[in-house]
């Protein structure tokens, strides 16, 4: 692609360039996705907010059984927000490269950059929606302020990390096989009830607990809930399992990105 011999660029310069590329891609994503009509990029967090509000209303109306004495509003907020976080990331990254193939002409836009910009967008949207709804519910008195804010952040970041690694993996695979796109939608709907957003691990029978704890999102959701409710949540999670899991997934994701990057053909 590059005709002249690559000159050695200092690391900090490269980093600066990447940040510039990422911010440009980010703005581009925002504009191409939401445009400038009506509320524009505010849809970024309005969309998940409406989702969460709807689910909260539904669960409140049906008095959904979740196996604990936690208030249903708080339960739905923490549960559904985290679902949005890990489910939308792969959803956005699958096929992201096909949509952005013309951009690959630019030397400084790498495959990973495209994924990262989309992940940033999803992460920002889900986080702003979670925070905004949390503040709204707290000010309405439907929700107690979190008992341990840092634990909430930690759990949230765990979910985000897992979601990102999964998204990049699936995104890279989807560039090679359309099957991924087709399979992801049913898979995501199947994983959703198992992801810990609709139940507390504590309320399950021990056999089911063992199986459910192999699903990495469960740990993150449990951690967020423990941060929110403290002892009352009876959260069960094991960082010693999730962190290595996410590390392995990250390595796989990055290897796949490299592999895809070598055979990507700009249109």
């Amino acid at each position: 692609m590059v005709s002249r011999a690559p000159t050695k660029t200092p690391f900090l310069c490269s980093l600066r360039i990447q940040i510039r590329v990422l911010s440009a891609l980010f703005m581009r994503e925002v504009l191409t996705r939401y445009g400038r009509h009506n509320i524009g990029f505010l849809w970024l967090f309005f969309e998940p907010m409406i989702f969460t509000l709807g689910v909260t209303a539904l669960w409140t109306a049906t008095q959904s059984v979740h196996g604990s004495d936690l208030p249903i509003v708080a339960f739905a907020l923490t549960g559904y927000s985290s679902v949005l976080l890990w489910r939308n990331m792969p959803g956005r990254c699958i096929g992201a490269l096909w949509a952005n193939l013309p951009l690959m002409y630019h030397r400084n836009i790498r495959v990973l950059d495209i994924y990262i910009s989309r992940l940033m967008l999803e992460f920002g949207g889900a986080t702003i929606s979670f925070t905004a709804l949390g503040i709204l519910f707290i000010s309405l008195g439907w929700l107690e302020p979190p008992e341990d804010f840092l634990k909430v952040v930690g759990g949230w970041m765990m979910i985000a990390w897992f979601g990102s690694a999964l998204a990049v993996t699936l995104g890279a695979l989807s560039h090679q096989s359309e099957l991924v796109d087709k399979l992801w939608h049913p898979a995501s709907y199947l994983i959703f009830p198992l992801s810990g957003s609709a139940f507390m691990v504590y309320a399950l029978p021990p056999v089911a607990q063992k199986i459910v704890l192999y699903i990495p999102m469960v740990h993150g959701v449990e951690m967020v809930r423990e941060g929110f409710f403290g002892e009352r949540a009876h959260a069960i999670y094991d960082l010693g399992y999730v962190i290595p899991f996410c590390l392995v997934l990250s390595v796989i994701a990055l290897l796949l990105v490299n592999w895809v990057g070598q055979r990507v053909v700009p249109e």
């Binding site: 690559p6 000159t7 660029t9 690391f11 310069c13 490269s14 980093l15 360039i17 990447q18 590329v21 030397r107 400084n108 790498r110 990973l112 290595p244 590390l247 392995v248 990250s250 390595v251 990055l254 290897l255 990105v257 490299n258």
Partner: protein, 208 residues
């Protein structure tokens, strides 16, 4: 373990001592009160020269009734003599006797009731002191009983700590699992290195 037993017992000892001291103080108070009451009663007896106003009064009343019997007998005799033998030589003698008996009765009556030195006046104060002494004695009895109870109770509170199963040396160490930990660290290190190096390579791909 011996030290924990000692600690438990020191703690219970303190609690025990506290209860016993409190009960003992109650007993001491009651004792002092009873003593005071007894002393007051005794000194009053000494001052008034009486032992028991009731007994003394009954004795004196007995004497008065005897004197009155005699007085009635003498008066009857005097009246008989005056009626049948007005010139009998015994009449003046009997008159003196009647007068003497009358005055003696009046005297004795005055000692029992009426006047500041009478037994009736003394008996009021005496009864008050007597009541006080009785009351103090009863209180002392109650305090003594509760002290005894506290002592019994504290005796029962002694706690014993004993070793049920003695610690044993394990046959083989189950932790730390050195080899396992080393492998885990190496693999985790590789994973972290892989992620970081690939990210850095990714950043380095951006060139001017």
């Amino acid at each position: 373990m011996q030290r924990s037993e000692a600690l438990v017992n020191i703690l219970s000892e303190r609690a025990r001592n506290d209860t016993i001291t409190l009960a003992q103080r109650d007993v001491d108070d009651a004792k002092a009160q009873a003593q005071n009451a007894a002393v007051a009663l005794a000194s009053y007896r000494n001052k008034q020269r009486i032992i028991d106003p009731k007994e003394q009064a009954s004795a004196q009343l007995l004497m008065i009734s005897k004197l009155q019997d005699e007085l009635i007998a003498s008066r009857t005799q005097l009246r008989q003599l005056q009626t049948y033998t007005p010139r009998a030589s015994q009449i003046p003698f009997l008159r003196t006797q009647v007068r003497a008996l009358q005055s003696e009765i009046d005297d004795q009556m005055a000692q029992i009731a009426g006047g500041s030195q009478s037994l009736a006046a003394a008996s009021v104060k005496y009864q008050e002191l007597q009541l006080n002494a009785d009351f103090s004695n009863k209180q002392l009895g109650i305090a003594m009983a509760s002290l005894q109870e506290a002592k019994d109770e504290s005796e029962r509170k002694q706690a014993y700590v004993d070793r049920i199963a003695s610690p044993s040396l394990s046959d083989y160490p189950s932790a730390p699992k050195r080899i396992r930990s080393i492998f885990a660290t190496i693999i985790l290190g590789f994973l972290v290195w892989g992620v970081l190096s690939m990210l850095i390579v990714g950043i380095r791909e951006h060139r001017d």
